[in-house]
Symmetry: C2
Subunit: 220 residues, 2 copies
């Protein structure tokens, strides 16, 4: 691995210069380009191939999230690390969703930034401690949310036959007895009988309730 080529994107000229100077003391990397917003970055990428882009979030014209999304769309292999003062959860979310592989706060020491850049190149996902913790929390919460909607039961639990599940699907599609009969090539009377049996097995008394159970358990 040779010298790491870094692209810097930040709308604040002072910060941009500071970061640039702080990083340029390291022989392990070189500043490939500087951009002052997302659009500018996209433009710069036309004649630069940085190993990694350090991206601010809040910028005029095109913010870091959008820019990340667009850059990753054009080149999915481009490594992008968010470098920002923001640690708002929704922004972390959006950044990760957009394709960022790392997320550092601006108060990290230059040596630490260098270490993180190397980790990123190496296929890792370096994050500032606070960010990493929030990421885990998001993951945990999402899991909890999914678990709530769990407790699904299979049709077999209710002794529903294959045909009855099929009928249930038709009911869920809003069809009436005649339409169900037509689609399944049976008489309307038979369709109704099936549905009566379904009601008994599910302990319900209307299409509406039957469909709700079907949907809750993801049979439809």
């Amino acid at each position: 691995m040779g010298v790491i080529k870094v692209g810097l994107v930040d709308d604040n000229p002072t910060l941009l210069r500071n970061i640039s100077q702080n990083l340029s003391i390291f022989d392990e990397l070189e500043i490939d380009f500087k951009a002052i917003n997302g659009l500018d970055a996209l433009d710069k990428l036309n004649n630069h191939q940085p190993d990694v882009i350090l991206m601010d979030i809040e910028m005029p014209a095109m913010d870091g999230i959008e820019a990340t999304r667009e850059i990753k769309r054009r080149n999915p292999n481009q490594k992008i690390m968010m470098l920002t003062v923001l640690d708002r959860e929704d922004k972390i979310f959006d950044a990760i969703k957009a394709g960022a592989s790392g997320y550092l706060l601006k108060d990290e020491k230059p040596s630490r930034i260098l270490a993180c850049l190397e980790e990123l190149i190496d296929g890792g996902a370096p994050m500032s401690p606070v960010i990493a913790m929030k990421t885990l929390e998001m993951l945990r919460n999402q899991q909890v949310l999914e678990q709530k909607t769990e407790t699904v039961q299979s049709p077999e639990t209710f002794n529903l036959s294959k045909r009855e599940v099929e009928i249930l699907e038709k009911i869920a599609n809003g069809l009436n007895y005649n339409q169900i009969a037509e689609q399944l090539f049976i008489s309307a009377k038979t369709a109704r009988k099936h549905i009566e049996n379904i009601y008994q097995k599910l302990h319900v008394h209307s299409k509406l309730e039957a469909v709700q159970i079907a949907q809750k358990n993801r049979w439809v």
Copy 2:
């Protein structure tokens, strides 16, 4: 911050000794206790208060995931870091869900483990690069799943009045006209009129379809 007290949990005696020796060269930490499985760890915790626990995953009697869950249940503030050779996604998932705040692979250098322990104590969530990347991927995937069920519209889109949404909720609860009328202190005829109006606005022709739209858009 004084010396970091570390609890080690691993069923492999050789590994346990190796880790212990590798870490004991640092003055910044001390080995508080060693345990050979989850149950043993729980027992040891009765008379030890380590700052952090380094936990293996695959162990007999009680594995690291279960042990983590139980330890966090008893003391939510206990910091636990998984230290394992496994990097299977589902295990990472489970470990995070169980309450682990960090996840390191066993091939990390001792100095790196120390740094991660310090980061953990500091409120961070240190992870080996591969793990961190997988964590992000999981988060991204979950997001994508949630986005699919998006495209929700507000009741206002359909010009539904407040009362009509209220009626819709009752319908979704499986009530018939009379029951709705009772609960809202109006006549059954009025309830039916409301529902007729709802049908027109939603372009549907049955309770079932109306409720499905309501559920799809999360009005209920």
